[in-house]
């Protein structure tokens, strides 16, 4: 509990320090008032100060409550973590493969994986939903709504309409 | 020996002929049946760049007999679309809208880190010149450009002039005006014509620089006075309004919207596209749609358009440092 909050507050502190360093290289003030670096500098400074206040709050308040709550963790482990990582992985897959594979194939695989692995949905149901969600939606969006969803970059796949 | 060299020559000649035949056949066959031409527009759907492109696309479809599909890739003032165009196959099936001076700025301004250069593109033709205008409120004391310039010289950096955005055509027009006349303005960058015009009508700023298409309503209602059009000829949408040139200042400004192909696109195909564009722009349908939107057709073929590219490129290059330090 306490540990993870301390880590989080430190991340904020490091983040604001990094921002501050980055903003120093931008022009701070110009002949016509604040330059590009003016707001980033002050904002990162304030964020840094606030992070420090938060750290102080955690350090001061924690001892009593830390005992009562024990070292129960804030973030899940085991199954929960695995599920979150699977979601993350599935989205990364979409980001990496939506353009090369085309929307329809990538979305079909994405939905099928999510429904089977995380939703424990029956196979026939999975096929129906993933089919509608990928091939069906592609047609609705590209043909009716003119929203451009990617076609496959692989030529023979694109040729058969995927 | 002689024989063999002759044979070789014949072979080379034959090969050359075949190649030529193939190339011209390629142009003849362009565009192939059931193959769509993609027109990349680096601006979002619904804007005036997009509207003009869509009108042209539907006109060219009829001329070419092939589908011309508009693909919007907005972002970074068109840069995302230009990057995509520069990386497309140079076969004529991918072309793109280019807005001057925007595309030149993205090339010349080192901060923009563009992945393309001027010669990454092959100009096809110019469609629209949305000329710049300098406007003041109807009750403003300035009756002519001369009045404004004189006052700006008397009180440097006190007269406020709006642009519709940093490094837009308007911005470069003001910079050029300053350079030509020696006057100095306080340049205020808005984001779009709407907010800038509101500020002009609310007397928050002294003068407004924008495009013809954006001020027609206010001109009609009599809320504003146009001091000059930045073109060599009067705008058909505001007859009787003087040009800058007629007032002794040779200033050409506004948005030039034309079309590009990736460099290396065969000349025959570029010419075919350029001709199709010309034919489309001469049809009544395209003409009237564009006129309604206040878009002035200014067709130029590939050669003339390339010339504008080069000239405007030089102007922009000189003004870039100024545009970032004001």
């Amino acid at each position: 509990m306490r540990k993870s909050r301390l880590i989080a507050s430190s991340i904020f502190l490091v983040f604001s320090a990094a921002l501050m360093i980055a903003s120093v290289s931008m022009e701070y003030y110009s002949s016509i008032g604040p330059g590009p670096g003016f707001f980033p500098f002050w904002l990162s400074l304030i964020l840094g100060l606030l992070s420090i206040i938060w750290i102080v709050q955690i350090v001061r308040s924690a001892p009593a409550s830390a005992k009562t709550e024990g070292e129960e963790t804030l973030f899940p482990r085991g199954g929960g973590l695995l599920r979150i990582l699977s979601l993350f992985g599935a989205l990364c897959f979409m980001i990496a493969f939506m353009e090369p594979l085309g929307f329809q194939l990538a979305m079909f695989a994405f939905l099928a994986f999510l429904l089977v692995a995380l939703g424990h949905v029956k196979t026939w149901m999975t096929l129906i939903i993933a089919g509608i969600g990928s091939f069906g939606l592609f047609r609705v969006f590209t043909l009716l709504l003119d929203v451009q969803l990617p076609q496959s970059a692989i030529r023979f796949l694109a040729a058969i309409g995927l | 020996m002689i024989l063999s060299s002759l044979r070789m020559r014949v072979t080379v000649l034959a090969a050359a002929c075949m190649l030529l035949a193939a190339v011209s056949a390629g142009a003849q066959a362009f565009p192939a049946k059931n193959k769509a031409i993609t027109l990349i527009v680096g601006f979002s759907a619904g804007g005036s760049s997009d509207a003009g492109a869509r009108i042209l696309a539907s006109g060219m479809e009829k001329v070419l007999g092939a589908k011309v599909e508009v693909l919007n890739k907005p972002g970074a003032s068109g840069q995302i679309g230009y990057t995509m165009l520069s990386q497309a196959k140079p076969n004529g099936y991918t072309i793109g809208l280019a807005s001057l001076p925007g595309i030149m700025v993205s090339i010349m301004d080192a901060d923009r880190k563009a992945a393309y250069k001027k010669d990454s593109f092959q100009p096809i033709g110019l469609q629209v010149l949305d000329a710049g205008v300098l406007a003041v409120k109807a009750d403003s004391p300035y009756q002519s450009i001369k009045d404004l310039i004189e006052d700006a010289k008397a009180r440097p950096r006190k007269i406020t002039v709006s642009t519709t955005g940093l490094q837009t055509g308007d911005h470069f027009s003001i910079l050029q005006l300053q350079k030509l006349t020696g006057a100095e303005f306080a340049i205020v960058h808005f984001d779009g014509a709407g907010t800038a015009m509101t500020s002009l009508l609310g007397k928050k700023i002294d003068a407004y620089v924008g495009n013809v298409g954006d001020v027609l309503s206010q001109l009609k209602s009599g809320d504003i006075r146009i001091l000059g059009v930045m073109d060599t000829q009067e705008s058909p949408f505001m007859p009787g309004v003087k040009t800058f040139e007629s007032q002794g200042i040779s200033l050409l400004g506004g948005s030039w919207r034309g079309y590009l192909a990736p460099a290396g696109t065969p000349k025959a195909i570029v010419d075919k596209l350029s001709a199709a564009m010309k034919t489309a722009l001469e049809t009544e349908e395209v003409k009237s749609s564009m006129a309604k939107l206040g878009l002035q057709i200014r067709y130029m073929n590939a050669e003339e358009y390339t010339k504008i590219w080069d000239e405007y490129g030089t102007v922009v290059k000189e003004l870039i440092p100024l545009s970032k330090n004001k």
Partner: protein, 495 residues
Amino acid sequence: MGFSVALSPGNLLYAFLGSAFGTLIGVLPGIGPAAGTALLIPLTARLPPTGAIIMLTAIFYGTQYGGTITSILLNVPGEAASAITCIDGHKMALKGRAGAALSIAAIGSFIGGLFATIALVFLAGPLTKVALEFGPVEFFALMVLGISLLMGLAGKSMVKALMMGILGLILAMVGMDPVRGAPRFTFGRMELMDGLNFVPVIMGLFGLADILENAEESLSSTVSAKVGSLMPSKQEIKDSVGPIARGSVLGTVLGLIPGMTGSMASFLSYSTEKKASKHPEKFGQGAIEGVAGPETANNAHANGALIPLFTLGIPASPTVAVLMGAFLMNGLIPGPFLFREQPELVWGVIASFFVGNVILLVLNLPLVGVWVKMLKIPYSILFAVILAFMVIGAYGAESSIFDVFIMLLFGILGYALKKFDFPLAPMILTLILGPTMERSLRRSMEMSQGDFSILFASPLAATLLVISLVVLVSSALKVFPGTGKGKSDSGSVGK
């Protein structure tokens, strides 16, 4: 005289079609109001001008009704202007009050739209003068006032609320600097030069973060929200009266001012309601006021934004600019002279706003029952559908895979922030107001060439700045006597 035009069978049909399409565009991901309206322009090409304009304007204000639905039911905002509705609307859905939230949103939208239209008819002239008072300086003062409401958005810990507010402002800096054209925090990515796209950011912060949290427990056993009664209770209606009234005024006024967006209207309404509420602690837990106010405000904004189009010929927002294009395509230049030249058309179109809003209400109230059925889908399936919906939504707006990445990034951030009990509202508020605040300040500096006194030279701006100071001090007084409380809170955070 306008009603005879608007109520003719043909025009009634166009208003109906426009309303239905608008609602649909609002519900669907990946297609915002501007793109949606632009898309449907060709559909209207063969209609008579009056019919075409009636249909397109109906599409425009119809989108504001539709955007709410996914915010409340799925915690995924369909449009930027409905993002804030996620906070309390979705909480209401979890408590089985989805039907009530949707009904109140529809009723509020109706009243807001009606109010703005009445303002257009009777007060267009004087209101336009108000709009013209807003130059860069006044814009800046108004943004400062908006951001001063930030402290009122704090949950248990003021420090965390402020941290989020500042983080939002920092995120608002991403992109090309508005005066010098220098890239800031873009990491060399072209996609970031125009700043972060708002829709993928909020989809990540709300929708994706929600799913990640639900994934801690098994996704196949999580229950979707209860359906519950569809009608708002008497208490809920009573609580909504004030927010709807204030939202109507706020939305209309902001709609008048070119450059103010619908999301600004809804966020400012939310902040105002929380500040005005006698029980601000209920906000974030499913307070009906947090739905009624913003949803009213964004509709009043949509209809109010049409006022400067008619009186000044100025499009007040990107979507109205698209609409203006449609006017032009039909050979009409919007502006005050249109009332003289084509009175029948103008009054017909304005009358159609009344008709259209009535149609939308009639269309949407019965649909509430249908939409709410969505919650009967088992969560084991629903979560995947929501994810697909978000991927399309993030990608579709700009056809950019990068935006899907942004959504993922902000999903993880949102999840982590939730774990540490950070309130999201302050961050989103500043993310929306931040860019405009910085731009208008620096624009003011361009006008005065660096002289700060310009900020106080305008009476209106000075008044707004003084009000912000009062708001800040009063919030601070509320907070600081309870500093000790803040400390003990942080100990019990995130259990």
